[in-house]
C-alpha cells in the first residue's frame, strides 16, 4: 500500500507511465499475457532449443548417425553413447538428434501447405457466399469424411514414400480444419461495421480481404497451426512407423520407433528415446498453442 502511494505522488513518475499505457499495442499486451503463462514459456523455450538442435545437428552430434559400429548391435546406453545403439549398431543419440530435423521439417512444412490451402478455401467460401461456399464446404466435408490415416497411407503408398511426399501428402490432407475455422471467422467478420464501412466507401474485394479480413483471421490460425504441428508430428511418426514415411537409413523418430517395435523383446531401449522426444515435442507445441490462444484470443479461453 505504502509503495503504491509513493509512486502515485511523484508526478515525474506518473507522466511517462500514463502516456505509455494507451499506446501499449495489442501485440505487447498479448506478449505480456503469454509471458504470464509459465508452461507456455517453457514450451516455447523447448521448441527454440529443438529448432537449434535440428539446424546445427551436423555440428552437435557426437557420432555419425549412419555409421555402424560392428559388434555393438542393440548395446544399451553408456557414457560414450548416451542412448546406446540401435538394432544394427548405430548411435541412437545422434539418430534421435537428426530425427528432430525430419519431425520439424514435416511438422512445419506440412502445416504451411495446410494453412495456405485452408485459408484460401476458407476465405473464398466465407467471403463469396453462394455456390462457391456450397462447393468448397462440401469439399471440406469430404476431406473430413475420410479417415485421415487411411487417406494418408493410401496416398503415401501411391506416390511412393519419401520426405517430400510425406510433407505434401500430410499437407494436402489436413487443411480442412483451417478452412472450417477461417470460413466461420470470415462470416462473422463480414457483418462487422468496419468491413461494411469499407464496402460502403467502395473498397475492392481484394482490398477488403487483404487489409481487413486476413489480419483478423490471423490469430486463430496461428493458434490452430501451433496445435496442428503436434498432430502432424504424430502422423509423420505413424507413417514412418508403418514404413510409409521417411525411408531408412535417414533417421526419423517414427522410423526408429518402428525398429524399436521389431526388437522390443531383445532391445527394449531402442523405442524409448524417440518416443520420449515425440511426447515432449508434441506436448511443447500443444502447450505453446494453448498459451498463444490465451494470449492472442482471450475470449476463446478454455474452449477446446
Amino acid at each position: 500500500m505504502g509503495k503504491s502511494l509513493e509512486v502515485a505522488t511523484s508526478k515525474e513518475q506518473i507522466g511517462p507511465v500514463a502516456e505509455e499505457l494507451p499506446r501499449r499495442s495489442e501485440r505487447s499486451r498479448a506478449w505480456r499475457r503469454y509471458k504470464a503463462n509459465r508452461m507456455a514459456v517453457i514450451a516455447g523455450a523447448f521448441i527454440i532449443l529443438l529448432c537449434l538442435m535440428a539446424i546445427f545437428a551436423d555440428t552437435i552430434v557426437p557420432h555419425d548417425p549412419l555409421e555402424i559400429y560392428s559388434g555393438k548391435r542393440g548395446v544399451g546406453p553408456s557414457s560414450e553413447h548416451l542412448m546406446g545403439f540401435d538394432h544394427v549398431g548405430r548411435d541412437l543419440f545422434s539418430r534421435v538428434i537428426y530425427g528432430s530435423r525430419v519431425a520439424l521439417i514435416v511438422g512445419l512444412g506440412a502445416s504451411s501447405i495446410a494453412v495456405i490451402i485452408g485459408v484460401m478455401v476458407g476465405v473464398t467460401a466465407g467471403y463469396f457466399s453462394g455456390w462457391p461456399d456450397s462447393l468448397l464446404s462440401r469439399l471440406t466435408d469430404t476431406l473430413m469424411a475420410f479417415p485421415i490415416i487411411a487417406l494418408l497411407i493410401l496416398l503415401a503408398s501411391i506416390v511412393g514414400p519419401s520426405l517430400v511426399t510425406t510433407v505434401v501428402v500430410i499437407g494436402v490432407t489436413s487443411w480442412a480444419i483451417y478452412a472450417r475455422v477461417v470460413r466461420a471467422q470470415v462470416l462473422s467478420l463480414k457483418r462487422q461495421e468496419f468491413v461494411v464501412a469499407a464496402l460502403a466507401i467502395g473498397a475492392s474485394d481484394r482490398r477488403i480481404i487483404f487489409r481487413h479480413i486476413l489480419p483478423n483471421v490471423l490469430a486463430p490460425v496461428i493458434v490452430l497451426v501451433t496445435l496442428g504441428v503436434g498432430t502432424i508430428i504424430i502422423l509423420e511418426a505413424a507413417l514412418s512407423f508403418l514404413g510409409l514415411g521417411i525411408q531408412p537409413p535417414t533417421p526419423s523418430w517414427g522410423g526408429t520407433l518402428s525398429d524399436g517395435r521389431a526388437f522390443i523383446l531383445l532391445f527394449p531401449h531402442i523405442a524409448m528415446a524417440p518416443g520420449i522426444m515425440i511426447v515432449l515435442t508434441v506436448l511443447a507445441f500443444n502447450l505453446l498453442g494453448d498459451g498463444l490462444r490465451d494470449a492472442l484470443d482471450p475470449r476463446q479461453k478454455d474452449i477446446t
Binding site: P147, S157, I158, L244, R261, A271, I278, L280, D302
Partner: protein, 334 residues
Amino acid sequence: MGLFIVRRLLASVVVLIFVSIVVFVAMRLAPGDPAMLMLGADAAGYVIGGAGESTYQKSLYEEKLEELRREMGLDRPIYIQYLYWIRGILGGNLGYSVRNELPVLPIILGRLPATLELLVLAVIMAMIVAIPAGILAAVKHRSMIDYAVGTFSAAGFAIPVFWLGLLFILIFGVRLGWFPVSGYIPLWESPVENLKRAFLPSLTLGLYLTAYFVRFLRADLLEVLQQDYIRTASAKGLTQSQIILRHALKNSVISLLTIIGIVVGGLLSGSVIIEQVFGWSGLGWLLVQSIFQRDYPMVQGIVILAAFGYTMVNLLVDISYGLLNPRIRAQFSM
C-alpha cells in the same frame, strides 16, 4: 425440421459423391491399371524376367492384358468407367481382391467385428474415467484436481498411441506377463482369450479417448455452468450435486454423444495403428496389409466404406442433435 433433414441428407450425398471421385482418381493414379494388377506380378514377370524368349512372351502378355482391359471396360472413357464402378457399388459389388479374386465386401465385413470390439471397449473404458474426471475438473475449477486432470489430458494428446501400446506390451505383456501381447481370437471362439487379448489394445485406445473426452466435457461443463438457468437452479436452493446431475450434465452429455459418434464414425483412423502394434486382425490391419500387397480393390473398398460410415454417423448425429436442440436447426443454413 423436415427441410433440415432433407438438406442435411443432400449434403451427405454430395459428400459421398466427392468421396467416391477422390477414391476413384486416387486408384487410377496408382502405378499399373486394374488389369495389370489382376494379371499379377508373375504375369508381369515375363516382361521383366526372361531374356531369351522374352519377345514372344511379352507379346503374349500384352495380348492378355488387352483382352482383360476390354473385358473390364478399361478401354472406355474414364467417366464411363467411373459410372460403371459406381453402379457396381450401388449393387453391393465393391470389386474383387487382386490376391484371391474373391469379392472384397464380405472380407471387409468379416473384419468389422474385431475393430468394433476394440472401439466399444475403448469407449466404455474412456467413459468410465472421463465422465467423473471431467465433472470433477469443471466443478473444482482451478483446483489441484483440475490441474491434474488438465495435465493428464495434455499428456494423453501428446503420447502417440503406437508408442503407448509398445510400452504396455513391454510392461504388462513381457515384464509382468499378465496379458498375451498380440493376436486376435474371435469372441465366439473363446470369450476369455478374446478379452485377454483385447484388453491392452483397448486400454491404449481408451486412454487417448479419455484425454479427448475429458478435455471436451470439462470445457463444455464450464460453459454450461455459467448459464442463467444454472444460476436459477442454485438460487432456488438445489444442492450442487443436484444441479450438476440434473441440469448441467444433461446438457453436456448430448454434446459428448456427438463426440462419441464422431469417434465411432472415424473408427478406422483410431484403430489402424493400434491394430498394427498389437497384431489385431481387424479392418485397420487388413487395410495396411492390402496396401503392402498392392491389393487396390481391397484398399478402395475399405476407404469407401469407412468414409461412408463416417458420413452416415455424422448425418445421424446432426439429425439427432437438431431434434434435441432447436437452436442448431435454426443456425443450419448451408
